[in-house]
């Protein structure tokens, strides 16, 4: 699903990622662990080009999205991302946060198709071979209604339907992060990238967020998680990458990595955190 080939990223003279090659298959839950400054977050942020890679390629569904000529926005729709700092839109209510992207992009696509149809119709008047029109079976109202229904369904799922019309500033960290997760889910992504989803949370709120992530994992969502929660990585992940100094040093199942680490650096890191 995502093939990363020799990915490098530097900030000026500082080389953060020093050639990463890894392939993530559909349905995999990949946990990335490693000491701070090892490039885990940078690597994750390169996967949806939040940071533009310096060199190398990221093949997502057969397209190299690291190529600057590619319209990255089209591919980001299918890659959800959850941030450490939640990043809910402060000027929108909870339900607006969830609905914004599906509604805007839905209407945008609808308008583009209408525009194209207009030109095809115009062209068909003058040319003999008639081009078929794009099929449009939705309306603005339908897009909005669908998005609202979907948003309410997702809110119900996390038990926060009564918070639909409040602003994010009134929510707890755990609530914010769960809403950030369903905001990503509302786009029906093929993969979700989690950037230390629980690191900014109070300890008693970590559980509720991890529970939600665990549920998604059980439903078969492909995910890549940068995390410091070793217990969680061990339990949920199907594969663990250990990164240090801009490289992947170990890539194995959680059982192997946690009980029988091969690389001395992995051993040293795990002995410190476990």
């Amino acid at each position: 699903m995502i093939d990363v080939i020799n990915l490098k990223k530097s900030y000026g003279d500082l080389e953060v990622l020093k050639g990463i090659t890894v392939s993530i298959k559909e349905g995999e839950k990949v946990a990335i662990i490693g000491p701070s400054g090892s490039g885990k977050s940078t690597f994750l942020r390169c996967l949806n080009c939040m940071e533009d890679p310096t060199s190398g390629s990221i093949i997502f569904e057969g397209v190299d999205i690291a190529d600057m000529r590619v319209d990255i926005n089209l591919y980001r729709r299918h890659m959800g991302m959850v941030f450490q700092q939640f990043n809910l839109f402060n000027n929108k209510t909870v339900i607006e946060n969830i609905m914004l992207a599906p509604v805007y992009l839905g209407i945008h696509d609808l308008n583009v198709m209408k525009f194209k149809n207009f030109f095809i119709k115009f062209r068909n008047i003058f040319s003999k071979e008639k081009k078929p029109l794009y099929e449009i079976n939705t309306t603005r109202e339908k897009i909005k209604a669908d998005a609202r229904e979907n948003a309410m369904r997702l809110l119900k799922r996390i038990g926060l339907e009564d918070k639909a019309d409040v602003y994010p500033s009134t929510l707890s960290g755990g609530q914010k992060q769960r809403i950030a997760i369903i905001r990503a889910l509302a786009m029906n992504p093929k993969v979700i990238l989690f950037d230390e989803p629980t690191s900014a949370l109070d300890p008693e709120m970590v559980g509720e967020v991890l529970d939600l992530i665990r549920q998604l994992a059980d439903e078969g969502m492909t995910m890549v998680i940068v995390t410091h929660e070793m217990g969680f990585a061990r339990e949920v992940a199907t594969r663990v990458l250990f990164m240090d100094d801009g490289r992947i040093l170990e890539d194995n199942t959680p059982e192997e990595i946690f009980s029988n680490p091969q690389n001395p650096r992995t051993r040293e890191f795990l002995s410190k955190v476990l």
């Binding site: 926005n73 980001r76 729709r77 991302m81 990043n87 402060n90 000027n91 992207a101 992009l105 602003y167």
Partner: protein
């Protein structure tokens, strides 16, 4: 104080009996017209410039646009507004061979002038919004432009509203120089009354009071707006 009474009566004579108030209303209308339209133009230009300035700059086009914006801001912040008015009216228009009314020129000049100032205000507003907001929008597949318009700029405007109010108040007061190019504002109206009554104390006092009243009304309007925009904050 008998002297003051006499002055008051003289003023009233011209102001009321000789229909001086029509000129005053006309001047007030022009003052507000220039200030409000100027601010609207200023906000539009300022937002565009600020957006260009905070754009990532590894492509060529943003860099060229940035240079143009820097030049523009330097030009309009580097000269007094009176000079800009005079140059626009007596140099630029004749050179271009366009005929515009003094009032239109004033609106354009004040708009362009405040655009330069608003751009910096707006830029500080945009930079005060957490970068994560932009990232969250982009991560959902929204473009830079859409995220800017729907997420970042609304929050930026909320943060800079007091400063923007300052700019509007400054603009209202600065319009008192438009008589340099022959536009009729409050100053023109009251000096007309003064000239006709041979008495300047009361008209200019009245002018000052009108400016103060205007500014106080605007300040309270800004307060109301601010309170409405703050509804997404916890404390309201």
């Amino acid at each position: 104080m008998g002297n003051f009474d006499r002055k008051l009566i003289k003023f009233w004579e011209i102001f009321y009996n000789n229909k001086g108030y029509i000129k005053v209303l006309e001047g007030l209308k022009n003052t507000l017209y220039i200030a409000i339209l100027g601010l609207v133009i200023g906000i539009i230009i300022g937002t565009l410039i600020a957006t260009v300035k905070v754009m990532p700059k590894y492509k060529k086009l943003p860099r060229i646009l940035n240079a143009i914006c820097d030049f523009y801001v330097g030009l309009f912040r580097g000269t007094p507004v009176v000079v800009q008015l005079l140059v626009a009216y007596y140099v630029v228009l004749p050179l271009l061979g366009i005929n515009l009314s003094a009032l239109t020129v004033c609106v354009l000049v004040f708009g362009l002038n405040s655009g330069a100032y608003v751009s910096e205000i707006m830029r500080s507003g945009i930079m005060s919004v957490d970068h994560g907001q932009m990232e969250a929008g982009r991560a959902l597949g929204l473009s830079y432009r859409v995220t800017m318009l729907k997420i970042v700029i609304p929050q930026a405007v909320k943060n800079i509203l007091p400063t923007l109010g300052n700019e509007f108040i400054a603009l209202i007061k600065e319009t008192s120089v438009v008589s340099f190019v022959g536009a009729a504002d409050l100053y023109v109206a009251f000096s007309y009354i003064g000239t006709n009554s041979y008495e300047f104390m009361v008209p200019y006092l009245a002018m000052a009071l009108i400016y103060i009243a205007l500014v106080m009304i605007i300040a309270s309007l800004i307060k109301v707006m601010e309170r409405r925009l703050r509804k997404s904050d916890r404390r309201n």
